[in-house]
């Protein structure tokens, strides 16, 4: 084992790692673009559904007033299901990303 050390009999085609790096980067960019498109189409409808859920919670909390302070929104948000909360957060993140 000392004689061989870490030498291996395996070889790769010339320029293999450079080509592979390029291919992987391309693949990743394509996948990111596709996933961005899917999110842009799907998320607005999901966000509308989550917003409706948020409004319903707000109305149940204070049926006689329209004064929805930040605190109330936060309380209402906390009453949403984890999935709805996630959709809202991701949607606003996405909006933030598109604005910048």
């Amino acid at each position: 084992m000392e004689k061989t050390g870490k030498t291996m009999p395996y070889t790769v085609p010339d320029g293999f790692f450079e080509a592979m790096e390029e291919r992987l980067m391309q693949e990743m960019t394509t996948k990111k673009k596709k996933s961005g498109l899917r999110r842009a189409v799907l998320w607005p409808s999901l966000a509308v559904a989550a917003s409706l859920a948020l409004l319903l919670v707000l109305r149940q909390q204070k049926p006689h007033t329209n004064d929805n302070s930040f605190e109330q929104v936060e309380i209402a948000f906390n009453q949403l299901s984890d999935d709805d909360q996630q959709i809202m957060l991701e949607y606003f993140d996405e909006m933030d990303y598109l604005d910048n």
């Binding site: 084992m1 004689k3 061989t4 870490k6 030498t7 291996m8 009999p9 395996y10 070889t11 790769v12 085609p13 293999f16 790692f17 592979m20 790096e21 291919r23 992987l24 980067m25 693949e27 990743m28 996948k31």
Partner: protein, 159 residues
């Protein structure tokens, strides 16, 4: 950059397991796509190297399993002829010593192969190898030493 840092170690790790260049290329490509796709799930308290090598090892096991018509080769699987150093355009058979060492490694059960390769070639700690293999550091250490003894014996008897 993650790709530049881990591309070659991952390739050589899977290559030592699957032997054929084409299979290693597939395993490496799928490994990095999985790494990028699931990067949000990576627990930063764990070793990044261990996490990446774990994904790569699973990919290599999946390819070995496919050859045998199984979903994935188990870590406990004994080695058989399928894993032997077979003809490949990208193996330098003139390097007799290196070929013999790889044959000795490929003759080991899968668990011992992985423990030996990650320690000897990649110099990962026993703790990191344990994360890769879903085992304990003591278990990995035992597997590494058993593997090393078997390799030394193989090299002596096949001199």
């Amino acid at each position: 950059m993650l790709l530049q840092r881990y591309q070659q170690p991952v390739y050589w790790h899977v290559r030592r397991m699957v032997v054929a260049h084409d299979d290693a290329e597939d395993a490496m490509q799928e490994t990095f796509l999985r790494v990028f796709r699931s990067f949000a799930q990576y627990d930063e308290h764990l070793s990044l190297a261990a996490w990446i090598f774990r994904i790569a090892t699973n990919e290599a096991l999946r390819i070995l399993g496919k050859r045998k018509g199984e979903a994935q080769v188990s870590l406990d699987e004994a080695s058989d002829d399928l894993f032997d150093l077979k003809a490949d355009d990208y193996v330098d058979y003139s390097n007799a010593e290196a070929v013999k060492l790889q044959k000795a490694i490929l003759a080991l059960p899968t668990k011992q192969q992985i423990a030996f390769n990650l320690r000897y070639y990649d110099e990962l700690s026993y703790e990191d190898i344990a994360l890769v293999m879903g085992s304990t550091a003591d278990n990995v250490k035992a597997n590494y030493h058993i593997a090393k003894d078997k390799i030394v014996n193989y090299l002596k008897t096949n001199d």
